[in-house]
Every structure is written in structure tokens, then in C-alpha cells.
């Protein structure tokens, strides 16, 4: 089997000889290298005045796209958010 590729090497120019066998992704946190939120049709928008920083939305996000910030609130990772709306449903404020 082929040697493990670096994540930057697996792009749309890679040959079948070099691609990872069976579609294995031998990199932890590999999603960071790919923008997967670009087909989103709705997006969550933070209303700064209302957010209490309860973080109830944070564990419910299926794409770990809610990132706590230093000021005790959150911001959204729009590169990976699919706009599913679960965080909106969870929000209490």
C-alpha cells in the first residue's frame, strides 16, 4: 500500500496511484482543510445584544461550527456550517 500522504497533497490533481486506499483519511482534524459550508442556503447570525453566552448551542452543532470566543460568547465557522438550524432551535434567549 502507498505511503501516507500529507493532506495538502490530496487534491484534485492527485493520481489514482497516490490517492489514499479506500478513501481513508489518515489525518486528525482533516476537515479544516476543506470548505464544506459553501452549499448552505440559510445561515445563523449572532445577535450580540441577546446572546448570554450560555453555550447550549455549542454541543448540539453536528459540524462543530460554533466556536466559543474570549468574551464569553460564540462565533460561527461559516466554512463548515451547513445551516441546519439546530443551534437556532436550541437558543433560549
Amino acid at each position: 500500500m502507498s505511503e501516507i500522504k500529507k493532506i495538502e497533497e490530496v487534491n484534485e490533481d492527485i493520481s489514482w496511484r497516490d490517492i489514499t486506499p479506500g478513501g481513508i483519511a489518515p489525518w486528525a482534524g482533516g476537515a479544516e482543510a476543506f470548505t464544506t459550508g459553501d452549499w448552505r442556503t440559510m445561515r445563523p447570525v449572532l445577535i450580540e445584544d441577546k446572546c448570554t453566552g450560555c453555550l447550549l448551542c455549542w454541543p448540539t452543532c453536528p459540524d462543530t461550527s460554533i466556536m466559543p470566543t474570549d468574551d464569553g460568547k460564540i462565533k460561527y465557522d461559516y466554512d463548515h456550517c451547513k445551516g441546519c438550524g439546530i443551534c437556532v432551535e436550541t437558543d433560549r434567549s
Partner: protein
Amino acid sequence: MLRQIDPDVVAAFPITPSTEVPQYFSQFVANGQVRTEFVAVESEHSAMSACIGAEAAGARTMTATSSQGLALMWEMLYIAASMRLPIVMTTVNRALSAPINIHNDHSDAMGARDSGWVQIYNENNQEAYDSLIMAIRVAEHADVQLPVMICYDGFITSHSVENIMLLEDDLVKSFVGEYKPQYSLLDKEHPVSMGMFDLPAFYFEHKRQQAEAIKNAKQVLIDVQNEFAKISGRQYGLFEEYKLDDADIAIVIANSTAGTAKDTVDMLREQGVKAGLLKIRLFRPFPADEIVKALSHVKAVAVMDKAEGFSAAGGPIFVDVRSAMYGKADGIKVINYIYGLGGRDVGVYDVKRVYDHLQTIADSGQIDNLYNYLGIRE
């Protein structure tokens, strides 16, 4: 043989006639004769799913099934192969429903021939035993990394009592060796994700790579068989030729009926008829060039299929053999016989009718019927 291989995980669901494989094996587990984790599941779909999970986790994994069980595994068969998981399964061949029938034909395994599994067909218990031990080495080989299906006939082979030569436990253990997967989900030093989503930019490359892997299985099987011959004294090929080298007429056939047909060949040889036989062993990948070369000198060939295929253009082995010969062995008359469906008995004299038909074709140079059904009531 499963006891001797002592796999890490066996996940299986009972179905006639493969039931005895997990049944006897679970006794070995209960007796502490193996260290295997035996997973009793609720269906064959679950059995193959559990095998996929275990193999992905880095465990050497085996299972067994037949007929409807294999059919229920269908979705997961493709996933096992595409994820490059070297699971080894005994497929005890049985007809598919409907009508329900528990007896032998090859419709189950032939339906799975495009699933990406390596398929090896076996005539008798000795060959099935030997092939299963070799299958571990073929499946796990770095150039292959694919699941392997060891096929043999339900009841005719699976429930027949015959003397076979076993290898010593230690010899089997050292031959199969320790399983060291390059990637596994339990390797916390090298975390991986498996079963990923592929967009059109990558899927095609993964399929091309998988195609290369199954192509590699042919040479790997040759090497493993040669190595196995040194420890067992039993040498296997990609297929077996029986009195074929000077034959005028020949049949191509898989599994137990090859044994019957060898008796027919012997009988015809005594009568001065130059009959021969080619027994399929490795069917996926299909050793096309080698088979064409072995048949290149005969006048007429009958390819015997124990599965209909319902293509209306011949059974599965026929289609592959004739396609392989096209442009490379033109002029040889090739016909197809469907035989023994649902366990219909096929004896020495039934096979003789095929050779008689071939002799007529060889003498006249004309094919009367391309597609034939052996012993069907017209």
C-alpha cells in the same frame, strides 16, 4: 481450519448449508480453544457490518454464509471491498429464492461476482481447507487489501464426510502470520477516518485504485500457492487442467461437479475420446489470458454454469470465457450449458451428454445450440 487460523473476530448468522461453520466454531470459542471474539448477530447484513467494523478496527475477521444470507449482505459486500478491508468469508453455495430451495447451485456467489471480492471456487473439502488458509495471506497482502470469498458447494461438499490432510496447528499459524494492518481505527498514535464521502473529483480514482488491487490478487495468489505447496505438498494453480493438454473437446466448470466430470473424462479417454477439463479456481479476478492459452488448442468447449444469470446471452462463466477468447482464440466453438440448478443431481453420464454434444460440434464444425440446459424436461 478456522480454529487453526484463530481469527480475532468472527461475526456470523446461521443459514443452511453454511450453519455448521459458525456452529462448530462457536464450540471452539466456548471451549476456549481459540481466543476469537464471536459476535452473534441478528442478520447477515449485521454480520457483514460487524465484520467491516472489526476489520476497520484492525482485527483479523472471518465469517460464513450461503444463499439468502449472502443476498442480504449485498450492500455491505461492496463496502467491505471498497474500504479495502481484507475480510475472509466461506460462501457455501446454495440456490437463491424463489422458489425457496436449500440445495446447491452458484447463483448466490455469481451474483456477488462484481462486488469487488476476490472469489476462489473449490471442488472438495481438501481444496476448500487449503484455499481458506491461503485466503488470509492473499486478502491481507499489501498489494491486495481486499476481502476474499472461498466458495464451495452446499451439502455436496459442505456436508460430505471425506478424508483430508490437515496441517499442524503451528504450521498454519506461522503460515498466516500475525495481522498488521497499515491503518486501523484503534491505532491511537495514527488517528484515521474511514468510510469517507467522495465527490466526483475523487471517487473515480478510488475505483481505479481498487481495480488495480484486484488485478494484483492474481500474482499474489500464485506466490501464496507456491509457498503453500512447500509446506503442504499440494500445488494449486489459478485453475486446474485435467487431461487438457492434448484434448480436442473440453468443458470449463467450477466446484464439485468438476470431480464428477473428471470421471467422465476418464471414461471417455478409455473409449479413445480426447476429452479434457478446465476447472475454475480463481474467478475474480478472472485469469482471462491464462485460460485462453490453456484452451487454445481445443476444437470445441462447453462452459458449464450452475447459475442462470438471466442475461439471455449465457451464464456468467460462459460470458467471461467467451469474451476472453474473442480475438485471441477465434475458430474454437464455444457453447454454454446451464446445469444442476437448485441441487439437480448431475452424474457422470449427464456430463457425458455434454461431451457427446461437443464431439458432434467438433466433427461438423457447426454449432446447433449455443445455450443449453442439461437434463431439463422439455
